[in-house]
């Protein structure tokens, strides 16, 4: 952190404004009848330097699409993404490529995200060389050290991905992301494909590396307990929008949005009397046909007339606690 910045006001490293990503489905033989799939529909949030912001939501809510849109792996339909003051959506290709050094990504599928025809060493080496992280004659040593940093053996350098377990592969992905000395890492369901015991190892590794390298994480997951474990702040997504955003403790102790309340009420308690369970009606509406007004009103147990008419804005209801609900 620079000397100039006031430590009480955290510095924004990433700012997402009104981010939208629509997909189009064509219906019928003649292409003029097209449907919009609003996967990400107007998202606003900031990530502060050094924190872990968890994004949680059920599958299909658009969290992965959002992660990819932030990294410009899928061009956003609208909105802006600012990383350290640089607007990414309008950045030229070669500048964007250079900037990717600072903001890396770890993917969900540890079996799909590594090239089956490349050795671990070759894979790490190429990113290190592309971004000129170290001198070319030091690359091998550097990569081997990186492997040790994530808990792998140096000898794995010349092995192929299929020789490893899921957890080891995810460590390789982490090493690859880390090898270019990024400032921020987007973890897209980084532990979801792993066994619970391996999940814990990887989460602990991520936390250790964060401290060691001063990283910032945007941690996308569908798993509330994982998000709770690793995040400083948590944002909840529903049907392509953020419905609640708060400090982790605040979020889990005092949720404001009925969706988050319902989710938390579903977690079984061990040492307390059972709390009242909020059971949601029906299923998540299709992103092809998003309900008018508040998009949660079709399932909300507290819905009133206004909910089906007026869209609730994401407002700061308490200090640092934002929610998009008329009655929160």
């Amino acid at each position: 952190m620079s000397i100039m910045s006031d430590p009480s006001v955290p510095e924004k490293i990433l700012e997402v404004k009104d981010l939208k990503k629509f997909f189009y489905a064509h219906k019928g033989l003649i292409g003029n009848h097209r449907q919009e799939i609003k996967a990400v529909d107007g998202i606003n949030f900031s990530v502060f330097r050094g924190e872990t912001l968890g994004i949680v939501g059920e599958s299909g809510c658009g969290k992965s699409t959002m992660g990819r849109a932030i990294l410009q792996l899928q061009k956003p339909t609208e909105g802006s993404v600012t990383f350290e003051g640089i607007e990414l959506t309008r950045l030229k290709n070669h500048k964007l490529r250079k900037l990717r050094k600072d903001i890396q990504m770890i993917f969900q599928d540890p079996f799909g995200s590594l090239n089956p025809r490349m050795t671990v060493g070759a894979m790490l080496k190429e990113t290190v060389q592309t971004h000129h992280v170290v001198k070319s004659n030091e690359t091998k040593e550097y990569v081997e050290n990186m492997l040790e940093q994530v808990g792998l053996k140096k000898s794995f350098y010349s092995r192929y991905p299929h020789e490893f377990s899921g957890g080891q592969r995810q460590r390789i992905s982490i090493a690859r992301a880390l090898a270019v000395k990024p400032k921020m890492i987007v973890c897209d369901e980084a532990v979801s494909a792993l066994d619970v015991s391996v999940q814990a190892q990887i989460l602990n590794l991520l936390q250790r590396l964060k401290k060691q390298y001063g990283l910032t994480y945007l941690f996308i997951s569908h798993d509330l307990s994982v998000v709770k474990h690793i995040s400083d702040r948590v944002a909840v997504m529903y049907l392509g929008q953020i419905v609640e955003l708060a400090d982790k403790k605040e979020m889990f102790n005092n949720p404001l949005h009925p969706y988050m309340k319902a989710l938390l009420s579903a977690i079984p308690l061990v040492n307390q009397e059972s709390r009242e369970r909020i059971i949601l009606k029906g299923e998540v509406p299709s992103p092809l046909n998003i309900p008018k007004g508040c998009r949660f009103h079709t399932r909300c147990p507290f819905a009133k007339a206004i909910c089906s008419e007026k869209v609730p804005e994401l407002e700061e209801k308490k200090e640092g606690h934002w929610a998009a609900c008329h009655f929160a």
């Binding site: 990819r68 990294l71 792996l73 490529r97 250079k98 900037l99 990717r100 050094k101 890396q104 990504m105 993917f107 969900q108 599928d109 799909g112 995200s113 590594l114 090239n115 089956p116 025809r117 490349m118 190429e126 990113t127 592309t130 971004h131 192929y160 299929h162 992905s173 690859r176 992301a177 270019v180």
Partner: protein, 296 residues
């Protein structure tokens, strides 16, 4: 129905099941086949290169006294209508046929693979749409007619025939490679490579290409065979190898009228085409497996 009884007793480790054994032995068999294919290809290439040293007679020396002689100790594969030694002609013919097969497919690969990769990877209007429409137009033509037209326009010679065959085979590779790239580009390792900031060209060459090499090799080996036949057809029509230079295809065609009286004229060149094609295919299959780190 009788239930299988579980008996108490010492645990014994049975031998690997038959299925495992057969799978393992089929792998070794495949390995041996590939090796044999490789040896055959090598032998054919050596025959072609050292043809003047190996062939007992000149391939174009005619002798009416010895016309249509069946295989004997003097003429191992017999003689043709003009009394030329078929064994010598086949050895010299290997030069033409292997060259025609390998060079025309090489040309098709050289043009087809990059175009297919660009088309599949970028999927833009100019690259994908136009490349694919031209490809479709070429595929819509009967390939031999197209090769014939091209060879006729370029003028009759072996080199021109190879160019014509190469161009006619190019769309096959464009289509195949495009399809394979389309499948690979959606794989997460490609997204991961993009996310780590690699250049598109680098991703295409270092990441996607090794993953689509298998089908390309299979297609290429099959097309070498087809190219040998295509060269034969063009030569038969007078647009390929010029007489009296021997090529397997042309010899096969020459024997056509004498299948009753002197079947050896066609049988031996046919046999060599067959062996060459099979060996190249099997060898190609072996290379593909050898390149796959999972099978190795």
């Amino acid at each position: 129905m009788e239930q299988p009884q579980l008996k108490a007793g010492p645990i014994t480790f049975s031998k690997p099941s038959k299925k495992v054994v057969s799978r393992r032995s089929s792998k070794i068999l495949k390995h041996k086949l590939a090796l044999m294919g490789g040896i055959f290809v090598a032998v054919l290439i050596l025959l072609a290169v050292f043809a003047p040293l190996i062939a007992p007679y000149s391939p174009i020396r005619q002798s009416y006294a010895e016309a249509l002689k069946p295989p004997s100790s003097a003429h191992w594969f017999g003689t043709d209508t003009l009394g030329r030694d078929l064994f010598s002609r086949i050895i010299f013919g290997a030069q033409v046929s292997l060259k025609a097969g390998l060079i025309s497919v090489g040309l098709a690969l050289l043009i087809g693979v990059p175009l297919g990769m660009i088309s599949g990877y970028f999927r833009g209007l100019w690259d994908d749409l136009i490349i694919m429409r031209v490809t479709d137009a070429m595929l819509a033509f009967p390939s031999l007619i197209l090769a014939l037209t091209l060879a006729a326009v370029l003028g009759p010679s072996l080199n021109h025939a190879m160019i014509a065959i190469g161009l006619v085979f190019t769309p096959n590779f464009i289509r195949l490679v495009r399809g394979e790239v389309l499948a690979q580009r959606e794989r997460e390792y490609v997204t991961a490579a993009k996310a780590s900031g690699l250049k598109n060209v680098h991703i295409m060459i270092r990441h996607i290409f090794p993953n689509i090499l298998g089908p390309i090799i299979v297609q290429a080996t099959l097309n070498v065979a087809a190219a040998i036949i295509a060269e034969a057809s063009l030569s038969y029509l007078g647009l390929g190898t010029q007489l009296p230079t021997p090529s397997w295809g042309a010899m096969l065609a020459e024997g056509q009228g004498y299948l009753q009286q002197a079947p050896w004229i066609s049988i031996f060149p046919g046999l060599f085409i067959f062996v060459a094609v099979i060996s190249i295919n099997v060898f190609g299959d072996g290379i593909r497996d050898w390149l796959d780190p999972k099978i190795k």
